[in-house]
Symmetry: C5
Subunit: 167 residues, 5 copies
């Protein structure tokens, strides 16, 4: 059984936590389905919602220390101002520090408004694609440290099409 933590925010303009939960269930269902036809009991989800993305590091820490998660996806929506980018930088430093304290992965899934300024539909599209792909990445990382090695150097992207490897 795998326990994934999903940390998200009220600041985000897309329900990233819900997107991650659906993606996690779909992945586990399809994975176990191909083996046993049932995913019951294979996945447990712990949700933790905080006001803004600077609150994510300690939320992730608590998901590990108090709720026993094996891995966490930290979901942030970064506003379009310079101050938002600075805050995202602070949050990422904290998230990496948290990982080093607990020896577990946190997938740092941040959508930046400046990626698609003034195009709300595109913002949502990039955000959802990134959350879904990284949620799957999280679950794959739990399967072993070389599970992703077959994709190493393949220019994989989340929120965009893959860049591909340079031949």
């Amino acid at each position: 059984m795998v326990k994934i933590g999903i940390a998200d925010t009220c600041f985000a303009r897309v329900n990233m936590g819900e997107v991650a939960a659906v993606a996690a269930k779909e992945y586990v269902s399809s994975s176990s389905g191909s083996e046993s036809g049932s995913a019951d009991g294979a996945l447990e989800i712990e949700r933790y919602t905080v006001p803004g993305f600077k609150d994510l590091p300690v939320a992730c820490k608590k998901l590990f220390s108090e709720y026993g998660c094996d891995i966490v996806v930290a979901l942030g929506w970064v506003g379009g101002e310079d101050i938002d980018e600075t805050c995202a930088h602070e949050a990422n430093i904290g998230l990496i520090q948290c990982e080093l304290m607990v020896d577990r992965h946190i997938l740092k899934v941040f959508f930046h408004v400046k990626e698609a300024k003034d195009d709300l539909d595109r913002q949502k599209e990039i955000c959802i694609d990134r959350v879904r792909k990284h949620t799957v990445n999280a679950l794959k990382l739990l399967e072993g440290k070389e599970v992703l090695s077959f994709s190493a150097g393949q220019g994989k992207r989340q929120g965009y099409d893959d860049a591909g490897s340079i031949e």
Copy 2:
């Protein structure tokens, strides 16, 4: 019973600590009022005032380790110069580090003068709104990690109107 720490500064041009204390009492009073008609004993406040916002991280640490707070609101007023922004960055890195050391939340409530340069009334207005909303966020976080999930992805803002979710 809930014990909230309020860390504020002499550098600020608004009495942010007092604003937070009033907001905390109002929230607890209205919450418990709807249940039992009395908030007596439901809230304890520890105030800690330091010179500037770079002194906030260790003040928060002491509010946890020496005064037994469950959560802290760290209230900073960031001046309009570049050096002020750099200092705010340093303070935020320290505040997040503190959270990771004690496994408790610090609501990082910073007003930046550059948000409303040359308009003192607007400065005060944004600042007070932000302090009040984040004080309530702090108290809600203590009620459970999914209490804010109903607002996840709703584009909540402090100091401004909510941005709302992208439909």
Copy 3:
């Protein structure tokens, strides 16, 4: 009895450590004088001089761990080049980290040459005012976490006139 650490540098162009020592003695003398007429034994000073301000964090750490200081004033003079500002940023991150490790305050007192480029008299004036005011702040912080609360939100400044509160 109070033991204050004074960490200063050879890089500075003003003897900031001496200024702090004098200010500390004056404050204690005037405080105790109003009560008992004598400040003998009320204050102990530990001085630590390092080459530059990036050496201050560990000097402060040692003032706590090896010399038993209750609080430290870290006195830095930041040159006028970009690299100096970067170094000041690094030093401040380290000073805050130190505070979190020992649960004690370090007053981070940095004068930046860019505050008064090409005006040496003004540089010295700002520097001395800042050192004196923050030395007093340090001693007040030791008297209790709410001693400064009566000045909260008053727009207090060191090196300049107070900005005052916004009415």
Copy 4:
């Protein structure tokens, strides 16, 4: 026997992990060959592939704590946008922090797209040269702290020709 960890990413557009593995085997083979004619058993490799380079710090930590590596090469491919550079900065801070926690070296091998924008062949060339040279550096560091001293001050470069010493 030497155990080297190789941490790489799916984000990279070159299979940096594979390049490092080959370089490590070649170095050990040529080194031991000159002594005993056989490198069997002289080298063990642990591979760890993560989605992006911000996932490298904790992967390295686990390569030390869970897989007993003596040293790790952390292989990152940094995209051409500003946000990529910021992320690389965060990753490097985390990698250095990891080194300090475990008292072991991590060779931080990052290729930046901006080094050869729009020239994919050159990107690959720089990247491979850097990975190969730093993999050898890693293995040499394990042989003793003065093994590289004969090259001290020689202006050694990875990805480019050596700059040489200033005579």
Copy 5:
């Protein structure tokens, strides 16, 4: 007896480690010479050479934890590109963090190419002067925390003439 660590790099274009070793021996020889006429056994040097300056923090950590050094000089040569400056920033954050972990000084001696772009002779001159002066600073710091206080506020510079104190 004093044990000084000298951490240097292959990236540097001047043999900074050798410069430091010579300066340390000269200082100890002249100091003890004035007292006893012999410096035999008064100084022990541990050299540690790494590829680049981002490898210095953990090398310094090991010089303390594995080789029992009392103090370390960390010698870095920072290239002329923006990325080099960013790396220097990362290294300095790590070096300060290391100092706080072990409660010992690391003299952070970095030469930046941008100090004398396109003038190799001047680069070497600044670099050597800085290394020599900071090596002496290191040895003086070991003699006591107030040994440098007579130079406090004197505007001391390494690599350049002293700025002097403002009278």
